[in-house]
């Protein structure tokens, strides 16, 4: 059943309609949240928050945009709120940049890392996560939606409720930061990347 039909049924109070809407979209919501906030034990709670907001604000969807776009906007809002709280909480928990990843800690102390493939791969993923974590919430959302989800600047501006210029500016800032993280990692130990490139 299409989303707009389900929503009509929900508005009429048809039992089971909202659960059907949930089942139809939960995978997509979960995937989007996972990409936006990264590895986080709170993802289940965020999924819950999204659908509760959907239920509360369903009257606000008038069919003037795709339901999936409207839903995506809620996902982005929830993710943004969470990222902001998390960045404050991280400060609160006094993590220093050097504490974040095993990779950067090892590099900071020794400058040379000799590891087998599995550990290299793990550290590479940690570098990715740390690079994303270093973006502020606005930058992270812009970069994730553009680079990973493939949305256009215009689509992102609708979902994030800001101008196209603002999205462009946040994307540029995010790319600059990601570039710097990548350069720093390559300078210290690019052997894993080189080996992956050689594999093709």
């Amino acid at each position: 059943m299409r989303s707009d039909e389900l929503i009509e049924r929900i508005r009429k109070g048809t039992p089971g309609a909202f659960e059907a809407l949930y089942r139809a979209h939960v995978d997509q919501v979960y995937r989007q949240l996972s990409r936006l906030v990264g590895e986080d034990g709170d993802i289940d709670d965020l999924v819950q928050t999204v659908f509760i907001k959907v239920h509360r604000h369903l009257d606000g969807w008038r069919g003037d945009s795709q339901f999936s776009t409207w839903l995506h906007r809620i996902v982005v809002n929830v993710a943004m709120t969470h990222l902001k709280k998390r960045s404050r909480r991280r400060w609160w928990s006094f993590d220093s940049a050097e504490d974040h990843t095993e990779a950067s800690a090892a590099v900071a102390t020794s400058g040379v890392v000799h590891l087998d493939g599995a550990i290299d791969a793990k550290r590479w993923l940690e570098v990715i996560q740390k690079s994303l974590a270093d973006l502020n919430p606005n930058q992270r959302v812009a970069w994730t939606l553009y680079e990973l989800e493939g949305l256009s600047l215009d689509e992102i501006s609708q979902v994030a409720d800001c101008s196209v210029n603002t999205v462009g500016s946040r994307l540029r800032e995010a790319r600059t930061k990601m570039n710097r993280s990548l350069e720093a990692y390559r300078k210290r130990d690019g052997s894993y990347l080189e080996s992956q490139e050689a594999k093709g």
């Binding site: 089942r23 979960y30 943004m80 502020n136 990601m178 570039n179 390559r186 992956q196």
Partner: protein
């Protein structure tokens, strides 16, 4: 002027996606042909995006079901699709003895659907009603066996939840902590949990979520057992509210509740009985596990004695080997995160007495102590630490001022709250923290009834980068 590699690299992410004018793209292409390092950087960036894009593992069906149950319980006015009403049975085994002792053990059973019988307001002391004629029988573990397992050292393990919670589970239990020190919450999907809960000041009621009901505990000794098709709750001391599908029942000391039902619609209730003679023994056994527990009104947590007679305890200032300040801070933080607030407070207080403590570490320690004190309900003391850090004019001062503003507002100290929130905004009025501080300030001004000042505040918030704050500002202005 010749463009440097660094400048080219800024354009690489866009170049790989076809961005840029034809001339820019030609220049980039030419540069890449001559620069191996930039080519390697481009490949690395591609790999980063490719690996970041990797699909996260999909949600398992059980996880989707679990999340749905939580959503459903929070939706207003939702009724399960085929449950029309709930009928309560009350079957006293004894007349209640004097006081709260478990002289009477009764089982309350929720039966559905029976549309002709509306459920009255929940009151566990209401007279006996018609028994269910449901003939469904289940094999459920007797309460006596459950409590016996939870008493034997080899068949249970302690569960750390939050301050004020003294809990244990059977070893086969599937349990997950989903709350915080301030709002303890546990999800029990299988097995048995026995706990004593003494609610601390400013702490929310404890919640235990099972597949069949949600128990809201304000200060009691209780046991909850989760089987495949039903869950039961028995209260030894105090009272517990059990919520199920929008209805709630208060279970008092000496009473038990069992709710059963499959996940599919049309669930039927089942009834189990506990031999009357064993009930009192079981309840007494539960109470004996927590001899210090007494039902008492909520009051501020008592300070642990820090000064002890020299002959019997270690001195408050340790003679143990020196611990590096950073390490002491980490220990304190970990203790706090694990809910060991006394230990966390002692550790951070010792740290603050360290001679020549670096300013940044001092600030971090005070902020941590403020969090600990807040969790302990010692709000005035928490505000003192926040005031100190907010006043020093260092990196941590803005965050301290923000937390001080929020805490002061909660405590009704509006002058302090306004001053602190304005300090955050004046230092930097464009970042996320200032937007959140402005939001707090706008709410405060509105509550205070400061007409023009609150309007100006909400108008300023309309430029916030956070769309939800902009929404709230608009709504606030629309309502004026």
């Amino acid at each position: 002027m010749k463009k440097t590699c660094s400048a080219y690299r800024d354009d690489l992410p866009g170049y790989r996606l076809g961005e840029g004018t034809p001339l820019e793209r030609e220049r980039m292409k030419a540069h890449l042909e001559g620069c191996a390092d930039c080519r390697a950087h481009l490949a690395a960036y591609e790999m980063l995006v490719r690996d970041a894009r990797e699909e996260p593992p999909a949600l398992a069906i059980e996880d989707k079901d679990r999340i749905w149950k939580k959503i459903e319980s929070e939706l207003p006015g939702t009724q399960p699709s085929l449950l029309d009403s709930i009928q309560r049975l009350f079957q006293p085994r004894w007349q209640p003895a004097i006081g709260m002792a478990a002289a009477c053990l009764a089982y309350l059973v929720l039966v559905n659907p029976a549309p002709q019988n509306e459920t009255p307001a929940p009151d566990a002391a209401s007279p006996a009603m018609a028994q269910s004629t449901d003939s469904t029988e289940q094999t459920v573990k007797p309460l006596k066996v459950v409590v016996a397992e939870l008493t034997q050292p080899e068949s249970h393990e302690a569960l750390e939840v939050a301050p004020g919670v003294n809990a244990r589970t059977t070893k086969r239990a599937k349990v997950r902590k989903t709350g915080t020190a301030h709002a303890p919450r546990v999800e029990l999907t299988k097995g048995d949990l026995l706990a004593e809960y003494t609610r601390q000041a400013k702490q929310e009621p404890m919640v235990v979520q099972t597949p069949h009901f949600e128990a809201v505990i304000r200060g009691t000794i209780f046991v909850i057992s989760v089987e495949a098709e039903s869950s039961s709750l028995t209260v030894a001391e105090g009272k517990v509210e059990a919520r199920h599908k929008g209805m709630s029942v208060m279970v008092n000391a000496g009473q038990s509740l069992r709710i059963s039902g499959s996940k599919s619609p049309g669930a039927e209730a089942s009834q189990s009985e506990q031999p009357a003679a064993e009930a009192e023994d079981v309840i007494d056994a539960m109470k004996r596990l927590f001899p210090e527990h007494e039902a008492k009104p909520i009051k501020p947590a008592l300070e642990q004695p820090t000064a002890a007679p020299k002959s019997t305890k270690k001195a408050a200032l340790p003679t143990e080997p020196l611990v590096a300040p950073n390490e002491r801070l980490t220990n304190a933080r970990n203790a706090w995160l694990n809910g060991k607030l006394d230990e966390a407070k002692d550790e951070v207080t010792r740290l603050l007495r360290h001679p020549d403590l670096q300013p940044k570490l001092q600030d971090d320690a005070r902020l941590l102590r403020a969090s600990i004190l807040r969790a302990r309900g010692e709000l005035a003391e928490a505000m003192v630490d926040l005031e100190v850090v907010a006043a020093v004019g260092r990196e941590a001062s803005r965050l301290a001022a923000f937390e001080l503003g929020r805490l002061a507002r909660e405590e009704g100290r509006l002058v302090t709250a306004k001053r602190a929130l304005k300090q955050v905004i004046e230092a930097n009025d464009t970042d996320v923290l200032s937007e959140e501080a402005r939001f707090e300030l706008c709410q405060l001004l509105t509550e205070e009834g400061s007409g023009d000042e609150s309007v100006a505040c909400w108008e300023a918030l309309q430029d916030a980068s956070d769309p939800s704050l902009r929404d709230k500002a608009q709504r606030a202005l629309d309502s004026k």
